[in-house]
């Protein structure tokens, strides 16, 4: 077997690193997690000429090796630990031609670790338009490495990059900068105390906040005969080191890089003048949000209706064509509706991630951070909280993970705590079905009333998130230094392939992650609804027939319905639902909704699936779920169960209650304690109960 070359792709955010990764690996990639932490691990295999193969690891984007986040720690940890199985034979630093100077900072740091480092300058196709010229040969000489011009967008230079990877052994290991000149005496002492270690690695470990694999930080700082420096002194040295690196970079670029300033007067400034404008910036941002939600609502309703009907037919068909029995019932009443309950989400998740990827790829998301920072800070959040809050409209899980780039712990914690209030896609089917039932399908000022209600639900979710952030900000006492510095990347046309890969990845993560839970619960629910304890359930037919003996007008069908309903009432799930009915009746719900609420604590999206299961078990009438719900009667008040009042109450309950095990699990992982997920579970659910109670009692 050919030897596999371990390659690490490293680079600043917004350099098109992922595009290069996609070009190198094609669809030959997988996304997983690093063991024990939730940082995404993207790796892939790249076929090289001469029968060679490269294992490519796409490391999280970072500006330097001075870590300020979990993602960045990981980059450093890997690069310091030679015994890690992913330790690179060669590092490829991806940089953006327009930000070469800043990108080279990271390059010099990685080169100084003694790893062969290739510099790949991406977006080379833009050079001419931006008036940039670069003397590649001379730059190679200055940086003592191989420099490759690539354009992932135009598919240029990728073969040169592969060639450079094959020849990595010819790249010099010589460092760029001698960091020890910032404090010669100190570094000399360090060298004496640890003669066998690379001095620059030691320095990195000392200045970071974490322990790294084989080098223990405490061991260094507590070593004999070695005087440590205070944090401030170290920070000053880091400042000096950074300045020193920039001096080296300026020297290397002085006679190699030419930029015609006039050519650079461009799209950016014109677009920024409007998009970050005090008034127009906000108007455009809200306009875009409105457009996205209207689009998601109207576009995805077609595939969703189709999926709904297809699965209803499939269920019917399997029942008619398979031999009758427990197994067929399990398939037609448990498994098929369960899978349907997962598939129906795909259109919305795909559309939402489609829009989010476009906003990120174009560089517009950073403008939103800029516009919203001050406003968000009033509520204890950061401009960077906008991205998690917006992602939260797809799913709270990636949103909680997306808070990692908020450096300030208090802002980050508050963001994590309030993100589950934003309207995730799992609530969407619940909202859609209830809105369709209780809100008239009419237009108001040219807008569809149902669409407006849906948007209102999003605003309620967002507003509650912001409001609770404000309260948390008042009560949480956490001291913090904040380092809000964000890059404002160039505007770019989004790359179709990147967006497609992102949409597929996120949808897959949902189907195979949350989907598994949903299917499992659907099956459990079916079992609970199909079996019951004791005599009443088993002798249902007999009991009902005897009871209805005097009533001879009953047709065969009506009798069957009564039997089925009696069975359901006496099944395990019926008993559970009945048990909580007194608690949910004041909110306008019956015991069937009670059951759906119980199962929703595993995952909200189970709500519709649960009702589907309950109703198809409760009657043989093969109608779509919506019609079935509309026909449901309120057992206490009479009249339809889903009225305006109970519908609104249910909408509000789903808007506020913490009903997602997976979110609780991810919050535990990110905050490293059960305290915060428990605060969410109890606080949010209690709030939901109270609000829904008031809503129903006022509106009924």
């Amino acid at each position: 077997m050919a030897k596999q070359i371990n390659v690490a792709l490293i680079g600043n955010p917004n350099t098109g690193k992922t595009s290069v990764f996609n070009k190198l690996t094609g669809l030959n990639q997988k996304v997983g997690n690093y063991p024990g932490i939730t940082v995404e691990k993207k790796e892939g295999v790249c076929k090289l000429p001469r029968n060679l193969k490269a294992h490519i690891l796409d490391l999280p984007g970072t500006y330097s090796l001075n870590a300020s986040s979990l993602d960045e720690n990981l980059v450093i940890e890997l690069l310091l630990n030679k015994s890690d199985k992913d330790y690179p034979d060669v590092a490829v630093v991806i940089s953006d031609v327009e930000n070469l100077k800043r990108n080279l900072l990271l390059f010099t740091q990685i080169k100084d670790l003694g790893i062969p480092t290739i510099l790949a300058i991406n977006m080379a196709d833009r050079m001419e338009r931006k008036g940039i010229s670069l003397d590649v040969d001379l730059l190679e000489e200055h940086l003592k490495t191989k420099v490759v011009l690539v354009s992932a967008r135009k598919n240029r230079g990728i073969d040169d990059l592969k060639e450079a990877i094959i020849n990595y052994q010819h790249i010099s290991n010589e460092p760029c900068v001698n960091a020890s000149v910032v404090a010669p005496e100190y570094f000399e002492r360090l060298r004496k105390a640890f003669p066998n270690q690379s001095i620059y690695k030691l320095w990195l470990v000392i200045t970071q906040d974490v322990n790294f694999g084989n080098i223990n930080r405490n061991e260094i700082t507590h070593a004999k005969g070695f005087i440590t420096k205070t944090e401030t002194e170290l920070k000053r040295l880091q400042h000096k080191e950074t300045i020193l690196r920039y001096q080296f970079i300026n020297g290397a670029l002085k006679d190699t890089l030419k930029v015609d300033a006039n050519a650079a007067k461009d799209l950016r400034s014109r677009l920024d003048r409007i998009l970050t404008h005090k008034v127009w910036g906000y108007v455009i941002f809200f306009g875009i949000l409105l457009l996205i939600f209207q689009a998601i609502y109207s576009w995805s309703s077609y595939p969703m209706d189709l999926i709904d009907e297809t699965f209803a037919h499939l269920s019917e068909w399997s029942k008619a064509n398979f031999p009758p029995g427990v197994f067929t019932n399990l398939i037609s009443e448990g498994i098929i509706p369960g899978i349907g309950g997962i598939v129906i989400f795909i259109p919305q998740i795909a559309f939402l991630f489609f829009f989010i990827s476009i906003l990120e790829e174009t560089g517009y998301m950073s403008r939103v951070v800029f516009l919203m920072d001050r406003v968000m800070r009033k509520f204890g959040l950061s401009g960077k909280s906008v991205v998690p809050l917006v992602s939260g409209t797809a799913c709270a899980i990636p949103a909680v993970m997306a808070t990692r780039n908020i450096e300030n712990w208090k802002e980050r914690l508050i963001t994590i705590l309030v993100v589950p209030f934003t309207t995730c896609s799992a609530r969407l089917p619940v909202y859609l079905i209830i809105i369709a039932l209780v809100i008239p399908d009419e237009t108001f000022w040219g807008f569809n009333l149902q669409g407006l209600t849906l948007m209102l639900m999003y605003f309620i979710g967002f507003g509650t998130a912001i409001g609770s952030a404000w309260i948390l900000n008042k009560f949480l006492k956490i001291k913090n230094r904040s380092h809000f510095v964000i890059e404002m990347p160039n505007y770019k046309l989004p790359l179709g392939k990147n967006i497609a890969i992102n949409v597929v990845e996120k949808t897959k993560a949902f189907v195979f992650g949350a989907g598994k839970i949903i299917l499992a619960i659907s099956i459990i629910l079916w079992v609970l609804a199909s079996y019951g304890p004791g005599d009443d359930f088993n002798r249902a037919e007999e009991i009902v027939t005897v009871e209805n003996q005097p009533n001879t007008q009953l047709s065969k069908e009506e009798l069957d319905e009564k039997i089925a309903s009696f069975k359901l009432r006496n099944s395990y799930i019926g008993i559970m639902g009945k048990g909580i009915e007194p608690a949910v009746a004041p909110l306008g719900y019956d015991w069937k909704i009670g059951i759906a609420l119980i199962s929703s604590f595993a995952a909200r999206e189970v709500f519709v699936g649960t009702l589907a299961t309950i109703y198809s078990v409760g009657s043989d009438d093969e109608q779509t779920i919506k019609n079935r719900m509309a026909a449901e009667k309120n057992p206490i008040l009479g009249g339809p169960l889903f009225t305006f009042a109970s519908g609104i109450s249910l909408l509000l309950f789903y808007a506020f209650a913490m009903q997602c095990m997976s979110t609780l699990a991810i919050v535990k992982k990110e905050t490293n304690t059960w305290k915060w997920p428990m605060v969410q579970l109890v606080g949010m659910t209690a709030f939901a109960y109270v609000v829904s109670l008031i809503a129903f009692q006022v509106l009924k």
Binding site: S68, E98, H239, Y246, H483
Partner: protein
């Protein structure tokens, strides 16, 4: 009067002076905001916070609290 970045209006420029504060985040230096570099204010969000800058070809946004720490020589 001490001139800081926070005093600059939209479209104004200055040269960053030597840092006298220890609280300046390292990240700022890493992003190219170094003493001696020219800085231009491209846009200011409402309430003068945050500020959108071009420092020597790097485009960044920083909060007012940090802008207040960076002394500059204004350019006319």
């Amino acid at each position: 009067m001490k001139h800081t970045l926070a005093n600059l209006k939209r479209g104004e420029r200055g040269i960053i002076k030597e840092f006298s504060e220890d609280n300046i985040p390292l990240k700022l230096l890493e992003m190219g905001c170094l003493p001696g570099n020219e800085v231009e204010v491209l846009q200011i969000a409402p309430f003068r916070d945050p500020m959108y800058l071009n420092v020597n070809g790097s485009y960044l946004a920083i909060r007012k609290e940090i802008a207040l720490l960076i002394e500059i020589d204004p350019l006319v």
